[in-house]
Subunit: 257 residues, 4 copies
């Protein structure tokens, strides 16, 4: 079996398309953003990628129908105000070994290169380890031109973050992308790292929207963010109740004193 | 060495055969069912599969003769009331790495495809984490047609189970089977997950029997189920004795009081 | 790089040679036996086997000269009373992954097959988990003929041991050997599993000596066994001293009472 | 994707060049030494090595520009008093699996062999587990000639160290180098193993300087060593303060008494 199996679902000619990558990771920010972009733009399925570097797993939907885990490439033809065709890469998993990461990234980039991609955006979360009220978007790029362009859209290039570099698909797509002559930017939405974070995904998509002149309706993502807020709030309250003595118990303590 | 070594033991022409897969897994339900089916039907050895994705291990039988761990394909020519020839896949292990799972499944499917298989049943256990008196059979399928057909035989398609999808050979044979143009169904017998479970294996085989018009004598499997019941009962009693104070010890405590 | 690098050191024509394999494992019994046999017979180097399935390691000898870890094949031309030429396989490691075990065994068997080997003995230890005063030699074989032949030399074929089969090179050489048309026997010297065990290695070599009409001087191996006995005895005494109260401490306790 | 991707950055003809290897490891001694040598000599980039045996990681510099992790080969043309051209290998990682170590070492040696290398020095740290005031340089070599040559420069060849041999790139470059007909020496600077150790790197480079007639300015490395000393000293003082009772706390205890 080939290490990476690419099945084409459609045949398209795209004009100088941009690749937007968002796979599962910290706070699921990248995947949330890429999937949302695909759904809101109505991007169409182009290729399914299976691989022995994914877990040997199928998902079962509500009707009982199975689907083998995969990465998936969709395409979208530019509509004004946008001027650039898009390829959007999402999926269930990143490669589960370092070797798998390299192999999958290489093979996907090869396909994208053949489809005309010379520029790419990779989307990810950046774990801060504490709650982030208003997530900033941190950046890294393959060239100074990319850094300058992103700064104009409010992306933060910090001297210290990310300190140890980027590990995983978002960094690797940029790193290996250079061997294909591609230039790119990684956009990392700040997130606590404890929750799936739609708010951070929105912050990242806001930048993508500005950079690519996309008109994105964020209402569903904001609704999802509020739902996560409610869940987080409930967990927080439960924890506090368990830690604080209740008035009842304080009285009890009074008797002892 | 080839990653997967297939040694053909016989040469057969089968008519539109159905593959039934049952490898070791949760409660060993799939393997018990497939091995029992092979033995009761008197299916004949067709191919032995060795692989570097199995452990480097040989088994030694009671006469001191070794046998390298393997997967094994048997065949059975339809006899009335059955109308379909069968291929039955059993074995000592599933592939021990994700890569091995994919490679072994792919290579076995390739062989089965060449033998004419376009339809398959995969057998497995579904761990409930508690004792199951009357195991239901849960299902997943590659198509709505498969779902509807199985519902007629009492298979349950649950909205929530299996939540995280299926991991391992039974799911993968369906998932990769589609790339060979095969349609299939996974039958999962409910089981506690703590014991080897012949009763769950019987539940699964009852469905297979109805679906393929097979006349299976279940007496040996039921005897095995009763034996496991006795062992489980003994373990249960021993645990209770250790946890409950005996009348003797209660008296002792009385003296102290 | 080739997964397995075989470097031939000599060119020989052997007459129907027998392979004797002994690699590191339980009690190092197999390696001790094979290395001792090679040294006592004065077998000559034939091939060095390097592999990426060994650790990335070199050993440094007392003169400061390095040597890359390897398996090594030596040959010995039969001298009366022996009638069969020998190939002896020893080395620093077994393959460190299951895949590596298969690949190394396959490639080594391929070489041996080319050199004319159709029969092999694999040597190993069998861990009993307790001290064994007079180690028996347990056996497993590829055929009834092998079982019967070994029984004549006192080898024990037990219904229950080894229960879970044999894991590692000694079993795999027999299992994969069959795919090369080789017949063979595994000889397992009983050992505690806690110490390197020259006495168990001698027991195994006694069988080999009878089976192949070899005249082996066991004095050095017996000296080594006595040395290990002394070390084990010292450890035993130290443990006892630490567990038993000394007369001194008993007096001290007396004062307290 | 090829397991190891070598990208040539320059085209050079070197005269009988010597390879100096220093990758991350114990005390980072080898990497510190090789990087320092490259910087001080002003060696020029010759090749970048990417591989799926490295982590899937990019580093981000202070300007926000990413760089895929790599090993890197630089070259330097001999200037008097030196008479030998150099190739210097440094990098971010050693291969992260045993297989990766072998594959990367083999491919790098292949390239170096093509560039004319027949002799190599590998640089590493040797962990002593305690602070080393004046680090000695321990050695291992592929030949007696190498041992004798290094002894003249004060390198210590100890009967007992390194006891278990050398694990990792520095040993493997020598071990696999022999299959390319290369002779070589491993120089191991003693180090505690707890800190990055520029002093040990200097000790190693002093030997290289003598062996290859290199004029190396050590002032920057010595400054770095002093900085590490200061950090180590501070940690030591903090630990002592936490362990010793202060005069203040002794008084407090007095009040209690």
């Amino acid at each position: 079996m080939d290490d990476v199996l690419i099945r084409m679902l459609d045949k398209v000619e795209l004009t100088n398309p941009v690749l937007v990558e968002g796979l599962p990771g910290v706070g699921n920010v990248g995947k949330l953003a890429a999937d949302y972009l695909r759904d809101k733009l109505g991007a169409k399925p182009l290729a399914t990628i299976h691989s022995k570097f994914f877990p040997p797993q199928v998902y079962v939907n509500e009707e009982g129908i199975i689907r083998l885990v995969s990465n998936d490439l969709s395409y979208w033809r530019a509509k004004p105000p946008a001027t650039r065709d898009l390829l959007i890469l999402g999926g269930d998993y990143q490669g589960i070994t370092p070797e798998g990461q390299y192999e999958l990234t290489e093979r996907t980039l090869e396909l994208c290169h053949r489809l005309g991609v010379r520029e790419l955006y990779t989307l990810a979360g950046f774990a801060q380890g504490h709650v982030v009220e208003v997530p900033r978007v941190l950046g890294a790029a393959t060239s100074t031109r990319g850094v300058e362009a992103m700064k104009k859209h409010g992306v933060v290039f910090s001297r210290n973050d990310p300190g140890g570099g980027l590990i995983g698909a978002s960094g690797l797509f940029l790193g290996l992308g250079r061997t294909f002559g591609m230039e790119g930017v990684c956009l990392m939405g700040e997130t606590s790292g404890y929750f799936v974070d739609p708010r951070s995904a929105e912050a990242v998509l806001q930048v993508i929207g500005k950079a690519l002149n996309l008109d994105i309706d964020f209402s569903d993502l904001e609704a999802k963010a509020k739902e996560i807020d409610r869940i987080a709030q409930k967990i927080h309250e439960t924890e506090q109740r368990l830690n604080e003595p209740t008035s009842q118990s304080r009285e009890d303590l009074g008797y002892i004193g």
